[in-house]
Amino acid sequence: MSPDTEKIIIELVLKALNGDMDSINNLDDRVLRSKAKAALFKAKKDPDAYREKYSKSSIPNDNENNFKNDPITSYVLKGLDGDMDQINAIEDRVLRGKVKAALVKAKKDPKSFKMQVGLKEVKKQTIELDEEKVDIEESINQRIKKLALEKFPQSILNDDVEKFLLVDLKSWSSLSAYLKTEESLFFDSLQCQTGFDLGEGLLEARYNLHSMKHDHYTEIRIQVTKDNPRIPSVEEVWRIADWFERETYDMLGIHFDGHRDMRRILLPDDWEGWPLRKDYDVQETYHGIVIPKMKEGWE
């Protein structure tokens, strides 16, 4: 993360901690928004410490203009207006170099630069206007959790749902259908389904769901033990799960109950073992063909 974005995020989080969620929600850049939200989530655990930590390092304020949080921008604007002396008077050599470089760039197309800065300005102003709103929008995962727990108690196992939802094995088949059909969630697309060997006798299946309609995204994880790796199939909810689950079965040996065609997909039917498990040993021979472990003479 570059220092600039970091600064912006810190500023936004500080504002959000004071109750202004809109400044984050109004961000156009999705990546920045999600990062800010993630940072906010962390900060909320201990808001006071966060404030203390960052309020000092907060962006230096220029009194002239309310957007001049970024010194370079302000200097460049001045430079564009013809005021080169101020730039030459900057003491910090690095800063001066940066300002000059930015100025050269900006001079190529001063209009668009001013427009960009202007946009920034407008955005910042709106942020300040909306400061009074107190509503904190919950993330999509939190919403799913709330909805799911209402319908299927005990279905979500993890408390920290920032990144993923850990779903209980038993409620998965009903929850999956619910996730697809519920209007406000409407996860109509299963982007990716895969399995993990977590070690310590645990296997995990992960589902990356996406809603084409609402354009939101979540990740679901289900853990099973290696002794009894059985997960209800969602093949009939999302049709692509047919092949994805077959691949997971092929590679990790997670058996999906209710799948209509549970065969290996990439490997031959008579392959032994589950290759992507961490304790997998390559077979010695396959149909009488010796499988070379290492190149001859290359040991």
Partner: protein, 373 residues
């Protein structure tokens, strides 16, 4: 009108067959010429990509991503480095971003050229295929100029690029684009509007939108079904949000929305959009900037996981990377777009004639290397 039913015959299309685009076996049940059921058997080209990745370091994964979709290696690299950079929170400079976009879009043109040509070949038109290959060669020339390789580049690195652009690349690319744009129109006149071609593709293998979404079909195939969904717009990565381009969507120009003709024509239009992006990226490319500037000394991403999708010529290319803090991926899953595209074949191609099945297969533009990984 009654339907005469005969005894069903099981026919194996492939693994060695001219129209399977690789090593694919389709077990079809046919009643005369009518195909009633299609069962794809894949895995003939399985090279243990994911298992292999668990045994090599992060930078060594790159050459293997090349080899998954060997017709669009640049975008395979691109997806991986975008995911890795997001995981490691590396910001690369503008020049690198621009070069990457230029390469990815040129690669998209190259990949579509081969896909379209091969589709024409499936229908029986041989000449457009060679015309497409001729123009693709020029793109490969550009790539060879850049990184020395013509097919498997290993060009984009985590945090940068392997080489800066060579002298004269920009001019050569402009030259190519100027040459290529009229060729698309010629191609359209030669094949796309040809009545026989239209008869063979329009209204054939219609893929409704909900089926496409449920089967996870993405990319041009999904857009042909009428859904405006492109990760370059909907979930912009790199600097795609800077450029002005349209997302061509299937209109049902010669038949129903989502038929083979739409899937074909969306790709043709996408090439034109890619040309637009390349032109903009070349025009706005910063002159200075070190392509090795942000290369990390050691690639050891923090503990955590990331699922990042990018738009490859075939659709959503997702990399699920799980890191345990070492320099070797704990688990790396590639969500390949052609894999999902192939899975829909039984749904949309059953009930058509044998010739149509192969046309539909061609219209999905699959690459077996990516399906089998």
């Amino acid at each position: 009108m009654g339907v005469i039913r005969g005894e069903e015959m099981v026919l194996n299309i492939g693994p060695q067959h001219p129209a399977t685009h690789g090593v694919l076996r389709l077990q079809v049940k046919t009643d005369g010429e009518i195909v009633s059921e299609i069962k794809p058997y894949i895995g003939y080209l399985h090279r243990c990509f994911e298992k292999h990745c668990e045994n090599v370091t992060y930078e060594q994964v790159l050459p293997f991503t090349d080899r998954c979709d060997y017709l669009a290696s640049m975008t395979m690299n691109f997806g991986y480095v975008v995911a890795m950079e997001e995981l490691m929170e590396i910001r690369v400079n503008d020049r690198v971003q621009h070069i990457r976009v230029v390469m990815a879009e040129l690669q998209r043109i190259a990949s579509h050229l081969l896909g379209l040509g091969a589709f024409g070949l499936d229908i029986g038109a041989f000449t457009p295929f060679l015309h497409m290959l001729r123009d693709r060669e020029r793109i490969l020339d550009l790539f060879e100029m850049t990184c020395g390789a013509r097919l498997l580049y290993n060009y984009m690195w985590i945090g940068g690029l392997s080489h800066d652009l060579p002298v004269g690349f920009v001019e050569s690319t402009y030259k190519f684009l100027d040459y290529f744009e009229p060729k698309i129109d010629e191609f359209v006149n030669l094949l796309v509007h040809n009545k026989i071609f239209v008869e063979r593709t329009a209204d054939i293998g219609v893929m409704p939108q909900d089926v496409a979404i449920s089967y996870g079909v993405t990319g041009p195939n999904l857009r042909a079904s009428g859904l405006n969904w492109d990760l370059r717009k909907n979930d912009p990565y790199s600097i795609y949000n800077k450029f002005d381009f349209n997302i061509p969507v299937g209109q049902g120009g010669k038949g129903t929305v989502g038929d083979c003709w739409d899937r074909f024509y969306v790709r043709v239009l996408e090439m034109k959009e890619s040309i637009k992006i390349v032109r903009q990226a070349l025009a706005s490319m910063p002159k200075d900037g070190d392509v090795h500037q942000s290369l990390p000394k050691k690639i050891k991403p923090p503990i955590g996981s990331i699922y990042r999708r990018t738009e490859s010529p075939r659709g959503d290319l997702g990399y699920y990377i799980e890191s345990d803090g070492s320099n070797v991926p704990y688990r790396l899953k590639m969500r390949s777009p052609a894999f999902t595209a192939l899975s829909v074949i039984d749904e949309i191609a059953a009930g058509w004639l044998l010739s149509d099945v192969l046309a539909i297969l061609g219209s999905l533009d699959i690459v077996l290397g990516e399906i089998d990984r």
